[in-house]
Amino acid sequence: MGHSSGSDIHGELGHVLPLKTYKTVLGALLILTIITVAVSRVDFGTMNLVVAMVVASIKAVLVALFFMHLKYESPITWLYAGIPVFLLGLLIGGVFIDDPLRVDPKNATVSVAEVGTSKASARDHAGDHHGANHH
């Protein structure tokens, strides 16, 4: 199968990649999986989530760029590959500016002057209920 190795042909149809690329990418994906599992066995607090998501995103990008040939696709394909990611961020962002910032009506105070303190107490209260989101 050495015929295509090293060549970088762009035909009338899709892009032909050397086989070596696919093998390298698979190797990288498997190694990254091992890394993410290994890191998760140690407690780094919030960093666990960050590392897991960063590693997952690197893997996702590798799959998209090489297995799915996104690297050789037109800008419009890039656009439609990116928009859902953007919209998902928007959805999560929209939910997160609501839910974590909600004030429990039980703690709401009438006086405008006290808004600062009421917000603080509401946050404490939420902390009691939901468990600390700051691990």
């Binding site: 015929h3 899709g14 990418v25 997952a56 799959v63 998902l88 600390a132």
Partner: protein, 215 residues
């Protein structure tokens, strides 16, 4: 293309199918672009559950953390590897198709589908384990960790459904390969089917750490 040198005539069975409203390269690019658009919808379909997971993880941090430790991360990691390998062979199938090697396309696709079967078997083992502990849908401990287990089953269940659909799609492509249908001038179904399969892999790449590792 070095391998398109065999003299092909227009009525060659390995050439692109005749479509009256598009020339073959346009048809190829249109199909691929169409699949990318469909993948965008799939991403957002799962996105809803990811968003729900994010907000409930914030809300029920301890429950989610504890529930996550009840999942079998070894089986999860194994399944990740299985899916990554299946994705690799799907990519390889496209490469073979680009060179008109139908037998190799068939072989690669069968390996991909085999991996998919393996994935589903492992998933079933995990599910039955959960079932025995009353964690499954309808079980008495289904809500023990608030919304974690419901989301776990929704996400992995719908993902498994996509695995099954992908198997069907690739199975159909495999029958075409068995009929020597593909060549360097026509391999659209292989590429489009593989694209779909890679998405199944992509979703799992995020599901695995979220559900099994960090919770």
């Amino acid at each position: 293309m070095s391998h398109g040198e065999h003299a092909h005539t227009l009525d060659d069975p390995q050439g692109p199918p005749h479509i009256h409203h598009m020339d073959p390269p346009t048809a190829y690019h249109a199909a691929k672009f169409g699949m990318w658009l469909f993948l965008a919808t799939e991403l957002l379909l799962f996105g809803v559950m990811f968003a729900a997971f994010a907000v409930f993880r914030w809300k029920y941090f301890h429950e989610f953390h504890e529930a996550s430790s009840h999942l079998n991360w070894k089986l999860g990691a194994l399944n990740t590897a299985v899916l990554l390998i299946s994705s690799y062979y799907a990519a390889i199938a496209v490469d073979h198709a680009q060179h008109g090697r139908n037998k190799q396309v068939l072989k690669s696709l069968l390996i991909t589908i085999g991996c998919a079967v393996g994935f589903l078997i492992i998933k079933t083992i995990e599910y039955s384990e959960k079932y025995h502990h009353g964690y499954f849908i309808g079980g008495e401990n289904f809500h023990e960790f608030k919304t974690f287990l419901p989301l776990y089953f929704c996400m992995t269940g719908i993902h498994a459904l996509h695995v099954i659909i992908g198997m069907g799609l690739l199975g159909w492509v495999a029958t075409l390969a068995a009929k020597n249908r593909f060549s360097s001038r026509y391999y659209t179904p292989v590429e489009v089917g593989a694209l779909y399969w890679h998405l199944v892999d992509l979703i799992w790449i995020y599901l695995f750490p979220l559900l099994y590792l960090v919770g």
